[in-house]
Amino acid sequence: MAKRARFLLIPIIFLLLTPAAAPGSRGPTDQVRETVDRVIELLKDKEMDSGKRRQMLSSLIRKRFEFRIMSQQVLATNWKKANPDERDRFVTLFSDLLENTYMERIEAYTDEKVEYVNEKVRDDRAIVETIIVTKTADIPIRYKLVMKGDEWLVYDVVIEEVSLIRNYRSSYREIVMKDGIEGLLARMEEKVKEMNETSKKAEK
């Protein structure tokens, strides 16, 4: 069971977060690579206090992820039905949820290696294929990015053929069918609160 669900073992989703650096000819892979190096550096810095590290990682994440497009894709048809206020709330909650989740995963990082396999770019979209080499397995991860200004921003992560967006989309659709958008937002709010409490406990 645990073995099958390895796709969540990947904190490395974060390794995408690049600092806003000088624009130029940095392709998506370069941006990914820079980030990987930076984040690993942060994680290896044992001196740093964990609260501060989380803060730094958090601000990086928010710069790098295109949460609005992600939210749109997750809600799909329900996005069209939602009013602007509901949309904004969803984006906020969804980004909190993702951030919390992966913050926990990333701290389990030990000494996995990241290999860059392939890059495809067309117009304003790109795919960067990487492999995370752990001690017992190789885990393929594909990042889907969209160009905004000079930065490539992530709008989906495909881990071992499992797309984050598709995964959330189907389970959230079921919830919206049962309880409507309000019901979904309420459950997300509860979840985020719960997660914040546990992470506060962990920091003490």
Partner: protein, 274 residues
């Protein structure tokens, strides 16, 4: 005894398979439109874009596929209440039995635990080998064969994986469920098996068929208990290496059952396509 034990599930599986329904009902491409319009909105205030003309057809097709908005997965789950019951059972089993045992097992140094994992994985080579052949993936079958030879000799009976380190030959997971998929068998409906976790009617049949190839069943022929003990040991060992993956899902998913159902289905379909 052994034969009866094998044939019974096979019959069930055949029944399941014969009643297999299509696992996916394509809906309209709802995501694509949303994406297009959102990107278009965002681009209004940006400078023009530079399309780099026509790439080669082959490359372009590849891209079309890659960027095509996937259909939402509709997973057939007629036994959901039963599945949820087994999911709950597995969940409790994990938290109250397997996990504590695995945590205790961490007193064994990690390199040793990784070697156990390599050993089991090497032992299961025939399953990957036969299924690669059945899918006419001759190169993969050759890889599996050479990995087996190298890892069994140089890797001391499979405890180490020099095949990966030196020869850069990576293991590729293949099983009979994927073989069936390769020949066009649809996944059918989703099942959660007690102890074994998520599966579907096609893969369940595959799991039984792979049992006939699994060397463990021949080494310990007719000694169910030893096999079960070894499988349990393997599971505990894997969990001891794993970094709380399942806990992570449980903590963040609004509905862990649905989350795992979807992820498992996507992953299996991806593996079939490879």
């Amino acid at each position: 005894m052994r034969n009866a034990f094998r044939i019974f599930p096979l019959l069930i599986a055949l029944l399941l398979l014969s009643s297999s329904v299509t696992g996916e009902v394509p809906l309209k491409k709802e995501g694509q439109e949303a994406f297009r319009s959102s990107v278009a909105d965002d681009r209004k205030d940006e400078a023009g874009q530079g399309g780099d003309g026509e790439a080669e057809d082959e490359f372009k097709d590849d891209f079309e596929d890659e960027f095509a908005e996937e259909e939402p997965l509709i997973i057939s789950d007629p036994f959901e209440p039963l599945n949820r019951a087994f999911f709950w059972f597995n969940d409790k089993l994990y938290f109250y039995l397997l996990k504590p045992v695995a945590r205790g097992f961490r007193v064994v140094p990690e390199p040793a635990r990784i070697s156990f994992s390599n050993f089991f994985s090497n032992l299961a080579t025939p399953i990957r080998f036969v299924n690669s052949l059945l899918q006419l993936k001759i190169k993969d079958a050759g890889n599996e064969f050479s990995r087996f030879v190298v890892n069994t000799t140089v890797g001391i009976g499979g405890l180490f994986d020099p095949g990966k380190k030196w020869a850069k030959v990576r293991k590729k997971e293949e099983d009979f469920g994927q073989t069936l998929g390769w020949y066009g068998v649809k996944p059918g409906f989703y099942i959660v098996l007690p102890l074994l976790g998520p599966s579907n009617s096609r893969d369940f049949l595959g799991q039984i068929a792979d049992g006939f190839i699994d060397p463990l069943n021949y080494i310990f022929d007719d000694r169910e208990l030893e096999i079960i003990a070894l499988k349990a040991f393997e599971a505990v060992n894997e969990i001891s290496i794993d970094k709380d993956t399942y806990e992570g899902i449980k903590r963040q998913a609004l509905d862990p059952y649905a989350f795992i159902k979807n992820a498992h289905t996507q992953r299996r379909e991806g593996m079939v396509k490879e």
